[in-house]
Amino acid sequence: MKKYFTVTQKVFLTITVFRFNFIFSIVSNLVYITVIYFLWSSIYGSGARSLNGMTFNQVFVYLSLASTIFSLFTTFVEWGMSREVIEGSIVMHFIKPIDLMMYKLFECLGYVLLKLVTITMPTVLVILLVFKPDMPIGLNILIFPVSLILSYFIMFNIDFLVGLLCFYNESTWGMSSAKDSIVMLLSGAVIPISFFPDTLKTIVNFLPFQAVYNIPLETLISNKLGTGDYIKNFLLQLFWILLLFAINRLFYRKAVKVITVNGG
């Protein structure tokens, strides 16, 4: 009887542990949002009503949502892939009639949905309730979720690409952190793209990262975008998904050949 009790206790513990981490990731995000609030209110405090076409209110909503979406999109794909390579369990994927990329995608979708309900929605509610954003209400509200879903597919493709690069070396932390920094810097997630100097703006437009954060966030917040812009952005996001997907497909065939599984 006692051993069953222990098992029950273990399950219980796992759940509590899980909850603890969940609560803390919400707190972490709110802490970050607080610093954004104070930093930007002191930047705007010196008299400026609008900088680079954005009001304080818009910048705050933009950056706090970016940070919330960032924690939503973090699914540790590359960590899982490199661990499986090191452990050798990756071969299990090759003998099953399931495609590795699809398997990972569906695994992540479950994780993202769980986080969406438990972390993201409460955080967004807090932001909306505590801070009344002045954004246009109309077509943009409907297009935002669609754009966000496309963003996730772009992000997943980037993650998977980094995961494949991890087949070639053992530096998972390095690859993953470098990816996070590059995405954060060039996507507008730490500072809105409209603040970038012109040359940098041009460069960033040719990269997939701004399609992950800037496009959905601008869709939601900006009142300067028309239907034409929405279609253009939609096509651009689609283009990046297809391009990155094609690269992943080609690269996957090559990368699979370099795996060395030690015993197991």
């Binding site: 509590t16 542990v17 803390f24 802490v31 104070f38 932390w173 690859m175 500072i191």
Partner: protein, 265 residues
């Protein structure tokens, strides 16, 4: 004194073994160092872009903010270099390996942290030093001998504050194994050290000065060098806060140690 010699000899031995082992993964070293630099550039990049649109934040110009930023970065580097093993304490606690640290006649905390020396932190050290020297030349700071001594004292005290905060967060693992999110939170909070505390309202100023004293990791010491005429003596509390906090953190660590009973494997 004999103990100190013994421990430092032991440390050098353990770390050189560790580095030899790590150097087998040469590409990991390069990639991690690169990633570490990128990670730290994120904050500087924000300032750099921001200052295209504005010319000061709360009366701090770009070079002053770079000084503040790199002071805080330098102050957290010792934690990064010497205490990186605290990040994975949850793993050795969960799989039971942690029990081995009880069986050696040396200090448990020393034994635990001296297993890892985070080589990629050297990149961070170089970046912080470069930015500090760059900004202090740009700002024309007078480095008198007294100033230099104060600089060393403040950097060491700030470093101890950061180490103590991380040690406390890691010690939570003894109670709730999965403590990684607390560590992440402490890291996020330590990033607050990179901003002038005057951007916050009274409540947060109080919290960051008196409760989670991250303002002593960057803001107060930097202001001592950048705005010497301010006449505020809060900065001189830094060493005492460092020592006090470390004593508390070490106490918590000891209580946690006595609480852990292994996994039975």
């Amino acid at each position: 004194m004999k103990r100190l010699r013994f421990y430092s000899r032991l440390y050098i031995k353990m770390i050189s073994q560790y580095i030899k082992a790590r150097m087998q993964f040469r590409s990991d070293f390069y990639i991690s160092t690169f990633a570490m630099l990128l990670l730290n550039i994120t904050g500087l990049f924000t300032y750099w872009v921001l200052f295209y649109s504005i010319n000061n934040i709360e009366g701090w110009n770009l070079n002053e903010l770079i000084f503040l930023y790199s002071f805080a970065l330098l102050a957290v580097t010792p934690m990064q270099l010497f205490f990186d093993n605290l990040w994975v304490i949850r793993i050795s606690l969960r799989n039971g390996n942690f029990i081995k640290y009880y069986f050696k006649p040396i200090n448990t905390l020393f034994y635990y942290v001296s297993e890892v020396f985070d080589i990629k932190g050297l990149g961070q050290l170089m970046l912080a030093l470069t930015m500090l020297i760059y900004s202090s030349i740009k700002l024309g700071i007078h480095w008198t001998p007294l100033n230099l001594i104060m600089f060393v004292v403040f950097i060491l005290s700030s470093a101890i504050i950061m180490i103590s905060l991380v040690l406390m967060a890691a010690s939570i693992s003894f109670w709730v194994i999965e403590s990684v999110s607390v560590l992440v939170l402490i890291f996020k909070l330590s990033e607050y050290a990179r901003y002038p505390i005057t951007i916050f309202n009274g409540f947060f100023r109080f919290v960051f000065t008196g409760i989670i004293p991250v303002a002593f990791i960057g803001y107060y010491p930097s202001r001592f060098f950048l705005k010497p005429g301010s006449g505020d003596i809060t900065v001189f509390a830094t060493p005492f806060i460092g020592i006090g906090l470390f004593i508390i953190a070490y106490k918590i660590w000891r209580i946690g140690l006595n609480r852990y009973s292994g996994t039975g494997s």
